[in-house]
Amino acid sequence: MKTQFSFGNWAIILLALAFFIVPLVITGMFSLWEGGSRYGFSAYQLMFSTTDFWKSLFLSFRLSVETIIVTFVLLVPAMIFVHLKAPQLKPLFEFISNLPFVIPAIALIDGLTTLYTGPSWLISTPNYLVIPYFFLALPYGYRALEVGLTTLDVKTLTEAGQSLGAGWGRIILTVLLPNLRSALIGAILLIFTTVIGEFTFASVLLFHTFAVFINDTGQNAITEAAALSLVSFLITWVFMLGVLFSGRKDAGQLKGAR
């Protein structure tokens, strides 16, 4: 039985390389096309000079930050306390973290729009998206924190803090969170990637996020859409490299809304 690297393996790798690289290269070529046989950066210049580009990118960025904050306020303390005080609730949390997988994004919007028709301060600003985004990111956030919390001796750390006279806020902020740093950075970057590229919720609820902007641009300006697609790929690349460097092995897990 041969164990050296065989010809068949090289063939598979070359085939995969072609399949994954060719669409990117062609998108790059399209983005540089200026009509006829002229090539240049005009699509990029035009893109960077439109206000809608910056506005939508900024909106998606802001929503990612808000989703991260909500995750930190709602999920992180709850999970820490379940680990400390109520381990019997763990199966329930495990179950909840799987729900966003069972309820497809489009079904969740259907439910949200059916149930909530007001108040307008809630549903008519883009901030409304933070609610579905929180659930979209929940499985990763949960898994990252669960791994971090199981490897950390939360109980001893907390008792040490308490015997030194620290309150809950202080224990979480200055003892537990710093110890969970790599798990949290991984979760933050995954939330960023997820929210920046999210299209389903935003398009059905009619908010102009980055992915919706790319789709609108593609209706009439193919070279700019190509440029935007490439920029979006690079953004994903940067965040995922961050996830890999922050030491998370399960980077690239399921991403709710495709």
Partner: protein, 276 residues
């Protein structure tokens, strides 16, 4: 006191914005003008919606199968003993990016490549091969399967590499020492050990493709019969139909996904035995 406040807050949030909307949806799917009715759920069996479910399931199965086969072959190639180390690092980090590259940008990349005016399509045409005359279309289930492969294959690779690493070198050596061929090793040792992981991965890929909306929507401009597209058409008022129809479609999707998750958790419990 404070601990319970935070746990309660989280549970309340889940209840209000995840459980309640889903419950209302399911309830709505069974409620007509005169109370309880099964007419909306049985409406899913009408030609239009049965086609959507068939297409969605077909697409999910096909793209999961493509992802499973090529992802496993690729994972086996980079995890094989003797594979250059840089190759594994490069392939796994690229996979992490590609598995998250989906939706609108992915659709545009494939339209530029294999769309009716795409570069590869045009190049093949110059060579005398008109793939669109031969029945291929990027905007069909076949085209979607090819496009979905761009995130399904890398996702498969990420899921399966740890399982392949779990195949001990000693097993291979023992088989080798007993005179087994490569095929016999895989047939009697490798594949049986990997089977639960492979089945689990298939279900994850299935769910991933089944609930996909952004990629098929951007690729076909919403002109393909898939359950997710049909729901969005009801929601945005593109088709004239009762909201109950959308609710019934969503309920149907949730039922399919719940089945997948139940089978999946059964499998992972089974697979855990091999990880010891």
């Amino acid at each position: 006191m404070i601990p319970w406040l935070f746990v309660g807050l989280f549970l309340l949030f889940v209840l209000a914005f995840l459980v309640a909307p889903t419950a209302v949806l399911v309830l709505q799917a069974f409620t007509g003008a005169h109370g309880f009715t099964l007419s909306y759920m049985s409406g899913l069996l009408s030609f239009q919606y049965r086609l959507a479910f068939e297409n969605s399931i077909l697409l999910a199965c096909a793209s999961a199968a493509v992802g499973l086969i090529f992802g496993a072959l690729l994972a086996n190639a980079v995890a094989a003993p003797g594979a250059p180390a840089f190759l594994r690092g490069f392939v796994t980090s690229f996979s992490a990016v590609a598995a998250n590259f989906s939706g609108v940008p992915l659709a545009f990349a494939f339209i530029s490549t294999l769309g009716s005016l795409g570069l590869v399509t045009q190049m093949l045409k110059h060579l005398g091969i008109n793939i669109y005359d031969m029945g291929f279309s990027l905007y069909s289930l076949t085209g979607l399967t090819i496009t979905f492969a761009y995130f399904q294959v890398p996702l498969m690779l990420i899921i399966i590499v740890p399982a392949i690493d779990g195949l001990r070198v000693q097993w291979r050596e023992a088989a080798d020492g007993l005179g087994a061929s490569k095929w016999q090793y895989w047939r009697h040792i490798g594949l049986p050990v990997l089977t639960p992981s492979l089945l689990g991965a298939f279900l994850l890929l299935f769910g991933n493709a089944f609930s996909a909306f952004a990629t098929p929507f951007a690729l076909t401009d919403g002109n393909i019969a898939l359950v997710t597209i049909d729901i969005s058409n009801v929601l945005s008022g593109n088709v004239m139909s009762d909201p109950q129809v959308g609710a019934a479609l969503s309920t149907g999707m949730i039922i399919v996904m719940a089945l997948i998750l139940v089978i999946y958790s059964g499998l992972t419990r089974h697979a855990a035995r091999w990880r010891k």
